[in-house]
Symmetry: C2
Subunit: 357 residues, 2 copies
């Protein structure tokens, strides 16, 4: 295992400490339990937005805490869910009585722990609502997940809902908005190489010298199939077509029913994409792929969208949701309406996403 | 060779095309010869700033073209100098009679070709001055370089001089400023793995499973030594100490003497660092190292600087000057004065560095 780390068990903590030292004007850290929060929290009268999940996907989520995005992030150990006490403590820290939205990626451990945190929070009088992001079109169920996994759309939901919270949206409005973003966002990824969890010390999976895994999960979960490596253009065709021709209404979306005390499947807001739809195209590095290759993928993606009559009006290209040093990329397409587009353009100031300020 | 590319010979062109498609509000491209320029060029009355060099280091330099940074960038093929006709054509495109500053990384091919371009430009009545960046403390001479190589300080010089040009600095003032940035910036890098130039198809060099190369060049040139992999903290100590205790006046700095028609060594402006000096700390990924590891390096770097009485007042952390998919990092420390600090904070809007707008 060749990494720029010290003791494997200190990796997450020491990486976080570096982020806090580098961005002390934007974020602060709480230990025991660990969570990162806006240096200017709580924001009086504003709904708080919290996300979290296993570490190893940096800059997600810690790099997205700040004005116009998240109020707090709860990092677990590498590829391990954060605990309910982290989530509860973060909620208490940032709550300003306007309520809190949890944005949760659909992994069984994350969902279960956030669910417990919601229950604890309600007992303490904090009003929390959750939205689960489940945008990965690659597989229906997966190694750590019932239903679709939550991937790239999470970043976009955090940005868009973060802007809306800043604008004074109520908790109920934010919940509807986050649901809309999730239902209009779809993703799929590919791995060229595996990655190594520091505490384990050996690769999560093995790929042959000429093999790639299509539809990989961000923890190295199996995707749709292993194939011989193809050209960048061919890979982009496979990912883009899987996303564009996905049947989104097959995807159940769940929300917490407070009255009944359980998760409920809910009606879907989205429709299949049509010619003329406007998209945000997000090409993401899995961590070890340089951005020169991401732009080559974007080139083909733009050509495909044009061919399909879809208009890319915004883009995001870079390593925003990684799997340690894994080589590969993912594509996320989000169908935008006026509201989402306007909110995307609002100022944001976080460690890893910044414009307008 | 596992990469997200098509034909190796199309890699540079197709990656550039993706950047242009993604950032058409900021940059445009000219073919035959190839250069990228600000979409709003020429800027009347403003000195133009141009940089360039081999491709494979993205986002350098194309990702830094835009308001508050470069006016144009000339990308060569992977790890290959751009040609004088690229540089001359870029100069003609952006010249608004206020003159042009070339920022050149010290590699013999780059220097020679920029020198030729300067001669051609003078014949055409364009006033161009060059500054060579030679900030790599690792080795005195290298595979492709006489003197020290030009690395991370280039990014900082482009940002600081770009802001100054926007503020109306004259060509002579910009030249002095760029010289000052170079003389106060020092870098050193480490490689954990090699990288593969697409057209070659095999790794540039071979490192053993437990070996790392200290002082690596951005084209895989040999560094100071190969050693068994060490902890992140130990590696940071080695890099930081090499930088902090470097003897900067050993470094010759050259500038173009127009009257005599040749490069001249010039007097040095810098002094050894002292307690209380204020620094910009830049931790850079070589391309394949995830930012979680960069932050772990930053954590130790901040501790070392504190111990040495040096104050980090700004930082930049991420993949800004890469070597394809090479795993590893480099550290650059730039001693700031009030002028550099103020210019660093000015707004910038490029594909890869953006704040304030």
């Amino acid at each position: 295992m060749k990494k720029l780390i010290n003791k494997p068990e200190d990796f997450t903590k020491e990486s976080l400490q570096g982020m806090i030292l580098a961005h002390s004007d934007i974020i602060k850290i709480n230990y025991e339990p660990t969570f990162i929060y806006r240096a200017d929290a709580p924001q009086e009268g504003k709904v708080g937005i919290i996300s979290g999940g296993g570490s190893g996907h940096e800059p997600l989520h810690v790099g997205f805490v700040g004005r116009g995005m998240l109020d707090a992030a709860c990092p677990g150990e590498v590829f391990t869910s954060p605990t309910p006490d982290q989530m509860l403590a973060a909620a208490k820290k940032i709550d300003s009585s306007a309520g809190i939205l949890y944005i949760v990626k659909n992994y069984s451990g994350d969902v279960m722990n956030f669910e417990m945190a919601v229950e604890f929070a309600h007992l303490e009088g904090i009003n929390i609502q959750s939205i689960i992001i489940d945008d990965d079109v690659a597989v229906k169920d997966s190694l750590y997940t019932q239903g679709r996994r939550g991937v790239g759309t999470t970043v976009l939901a955090e940005k868009i809902c973060g802007a809306a919270a800043e604008k004074g949206y109520s908790l109920q409005q934010l919940k509807e908005l986050c649901k809309k973003v999730n239902q209009n966002g779809r993703s799929m990824g590919i791995a060229l190489t595996s990655c190594t969890v520091p505490a384990k010390g050996t690769p999560t999976f093995i790929l042959g010298d000429n093999e790639v895994e299509l539809g990989i999960g961000i923890h190295g979960e199996p995707g749709r199939e292993r194939v011989t490596i193809k050209s960048g253009d061919e890979i982009t065709e496979i990912l883009a077509n899987a996303i564009i021709y996905d049947t989104p209404y097959q995807r159940p979306l769940r929300e917490w029913d407070q009255a009944q005390g359980k998760w409920q499947d809910v009606e879907l807001l989205n429709k299949p994409w049509q010619k003329g739809d406007r998209l945000l195209a997000y090409v993401n590095s899995m961590g070890g792929t340089p951005i020169s290759e991401l732009y080559l993928i974007y080139r083909k993606l733009a050509e495909i969208c044009h061919r399909e009559g879809l208009e890319i009006v915004r883009n995001l290209i870079g390593p925003y949701m990684t799997s340690l040093e894994m080589q590969g990329c993912s594509i996320t397409l989000l169908k935008l309406d006026e509201e989402m587009l306007r909110l995307w353009d609002e100022p944001v100031k976080t460690a890893s996403l910044r414009w307008g300020v």
